[in-house]
Amino acid sequence: MGRPSAFAQYKTLLAKDLRQEFRTREMLTSMGIYALLVIIVYGAALALTARGIDIANMGGGLLWVLIVFTSLLGLGRSFAHEKEQACMDGIMLVPLDRSVIFLAKATANILFMLAVEVITVPLFYFFFMSGQPVAATFFWVVAPLLVGTIGMAGIGTMLSTITMNTRSRDVMLAILFIPLIYPLLYACVTATTAAIAGTEFWTDFFVMPLVLACGYDVVMLLVCWVLYDFVVSA
């Protein structure tokens, strides 16, 4: 019997992560509740000013703060059980290309983050933006959300593998994660804000940041993909 193809290995690893999540619902519940709590904190922070300011201009930024902190929580957990039950050692015994592990883990993280976003974005709209007419371009926020999520999950998978073996791993993850996703975050917030505001020349602030974000995604994912072998074998 020949060895299974890289794609088959990828599917198996991804299915393992998804099955574990469906059985424990550990990450999705904690991320979802955490996102709701951040929204409630926003409620307190904006309690007096929300009516006075134009929320459409701030919505993009607030939404991304929510996504960054929620995904930080999820990414920190993504290798925790692998470490606790020494599953990682088991995976490392299998003769497979290490970058397959990266791709499978990153895909799982993308899916979890997207699942949380599907819940939190409507919630965010419900709590803060329902008093205003929606711009016709609002649905274009899907593009920066997708690009941003892919990049953040890729970088985050790499970093959570690194921080899995450090002391005080959650703090380390935050310290490394936030500076490294910053360019991506900046571009995505700009594009999201442009789409939410939907003013006459919104594409000027939408297309270019989105292209830059895609470029950063590609560069970072390639770098992480190449370097993952070293990180996971160390």
Binding site: T163, P183, M220, C224
Partner: protein
Amino acid sequence: MVEKKVRIPEAGQWPDKLALPALAAGAVLTTVGFLMAFLFAAPVNGAALDTPELVNGVMVTHQQLISQKIFYFHMPVAIVSFVMLIFSAYYGIRFLTTREQRFDTCSRVAMELTLLFVIFTMVTGDLWTRFEWGVWWTWEPRLTTYLILMLIVIAYFVMRNSIDDPERRATYASVISLIAFVDVPICFMITRLIPSSVHPVIAREGGMTPDMAATVLVVMIGMMLVAFGLYRLRFREARLAERLQALKDQLED
């Protein structure tokens, strides 16, 4: 296949002989550059003012012309910080390909100097921000990307301190130095991609006058020499400490 012998850097090799002369020459050149900035290089656009005046449609004061001298140190120091980060990433690659701890020491020392020069850049830049724009900080693209670079370099050292196993620490540190390296072209290109008035792309705006260019060049060479001298001295110190530790461990066994 012939096994290629890897040359491993060690304290006491020939570059060490150059370290102190380089440091001295760097100090002299930087001092000369400092004097040139004030005595030789003309004020920007050749303006010499006693009262506020319009220069190229911008109101310029005497104070502004003096603070413009910061440029002669700000830019060379920033370039040196990029160069040191490139060295750190280079030694990171060398470590990952050879698994030789020595390259990790090189990478770490280069990163320490990156942090030093990044702090110099931040201090000179902040003086400029305060006197030119009247604020301590502004979220301008290059300032932001450079701040991010500084945070990544700091995170690099925080991460090093939280891992005990030397092999694993070296691998992770090399990987982070390579990822940090991705920020260099971003930081460098950002003023070209997102034009902002505050960080000029000098080549696009007509270049420097010969006296300005000469001053920048003198300071830049001086700073490079200082960086090289500090790098070798620090590397020697780190290596001697490592060897001492190894001897101590041997004695204990």
